[in-house]
């Protein structure tokens, strides 16, 4: 069943710059696997080494965090929207920042 996947800016480069793409599957795991097959590299930072979801990237089915649903086994239905949301730190770079010193490399 096709679902819509909303990609954050940081992952769009893997999908030709598209903010929204389609993927198929009955569970979140299947959707993410299908997404990876269509756009290699797009889920590289979504999965942790143990095959679960990283805790600094949230995945939502519609408006609910899948950590409070069935994680990767969360069922998805046609018409659902899967959103991938990494923690972002943008804001004021110089603000009381541990990395503000000019002699240090920027974060990342």
């Amino acid at each position: 069943m096709p679902v819509q996947v909303k990609l954050p800016t940081i992952l769009r480069k893997h999908a030709g710059g598209e903010p929204r793409v389609s993927a198929e599957g009955g569970t979140l795991r299947e959707v993410l696997q299908d997404l990876e097959a269509r756009y290699p590299g797009v889920t590289k930072n979504v999965f942790s080494e143990d095959g679960g979801l990283h805790r600094f990237i949230n995945v939502y089915v519609n408006d609910e965090d899948v950590r409070y649903l069935g994680a990767l086994e969360t069922e998805v239905r046609e018409g659902d929207t899967v959103s991938i949301l990494p923690a972002v730190a943008g804001g004021e770079r110089s603000t009381a920042s541990p990395r503000m010193r000019k002699d240090e490399a920027p974060l990342g």
Binding site: K6, P8, T9, I10, P19, N45, H54, R55, F56, I57, N58, Y60, D63, E64, D65, R67, Y68, S83, L85, P86, A87, V88, A89, G90, G91, E92, R93, S94, T95, A96, S97, P98, R99, M100, R101, E104, P106, L107, G108
Partner: protein, 274 residues
């Protein structure tokens, strides 16, 4: 109940608030009696602080440590071309006082550390976070949780922004409930590397100012429990739920972090010189 009268200047200055149902005289009085600390005189902090000053927040603090750079002016609307090279706090304080000389504007020219965060936050009712880095973000979260102060959160990257409100209390979420761990260093580029759309912090910072004012006046529903996502390219807003995490190390049922920690170590970045 005795209510302090408005001065003639205040009646004129805040006339559009005073006649506005939902703020009115009592709401404006709350703003005049309130204190807000804006962390960062940058992209997010600029519109937030400008609107809070204009709205008559009685004591407005602003924290920063950097100097104004020409590359800031594309989005940091608190500063002008003639401020390049000046202290951001000095520039911010001057411009905020110029907008509203009748409020108290306090500049905090400092870096935030575990050692000074409580002292810096203590005199303020509401904390607004416009920082760009994870150690300070977790530091600000934990400090506001421990102090029971509401935190207005905002974050931006390229064309996308996020905002919410964390209100410490019974079974209410904090930033750690949203993102329990920071990303490993190197996986998330900064705005300095990835670029940022100049208007974006204007939108998110204005939302932060809106939420700070609502926290003070008590009117309306804040973003507490909801993460607002904004995409400037799509021109779309989306909301997702933020659940309280019973296992949260700071605000969960059995907290394991009960005092400030070493946030650089937690985030895997080098320590800052104090």
């Amino acid at each position: 109940m005795t209510v302090e009268r408005f001065t003639v200047d205040q009646v004129q200055r805040y006339a559009r608030h005073i006649i506005l149902p939902g703020i009115g005289g009592p709401g404006q009085r709350k703003l005049l009696d309130a204190s807000v600390l804006v962390i960062g005189a940058g992209g997010l902090g600029s519109p937030t602080a400008l609107y809070l000053a204009a709205a008559g927040v009685g004591r407005l603090g602003i924290v920063d440590f950097d100097a104004v750079d020409l590359s800031n002016l594309q989005r940091q609307i608190l500063h002008t071309n003639s401020d390049v090279g000046r202290s951001k706090v000095a520039s911010a304080v001057e411009h905020l006082r110029a907008i509203n000389p009748s409020i108290e504007v306090v500049g905090h020219e400092e870096l935030l550390f575990s050692t000074n965060v409580f002292e810096t936050f203590e005199p303020y009712d509401v904390i607004v976070d416009g920082t760009d880095n994870f150690p300070v973000r977790y530091l600000v979260n934990d400090a506001t949780q421990f102090m029971g102060k509401p935190l207005v959160y905002g974050s931006i990257y390229q064309f996308e922004g996020q905002a919410t409100v964390f209100q410490p209390g019974q079974e209410t979420p904090c930033y750690r409930c949203l993102f329990p761990t920071p990303p490993p260093p190197g996986t998330v580029p900064s705005c300095a590397e990835g670029g940022v759309f100049g208007v974006l912090p204007g939108v998110i910072g204005s939302i932060q100012a809106t939420e700070a004012i609502k926290l003070i006046t008590g009117e309306g529903d804040t973003l507490e429990g909801r993460l607002l996502l904004y995409d400037a390219l799509d021109m779309s807003f989306q909301e997702v739920k933020i659940r309280w995490d019973a296992d949260c190390p700071v605000c969960g049922k059995e907290p394991t972090i009960t005092e400030l920690i070493d946030y650089e170590a937690f985030c895997g970045v080098p320590a800052r010189p104090e």
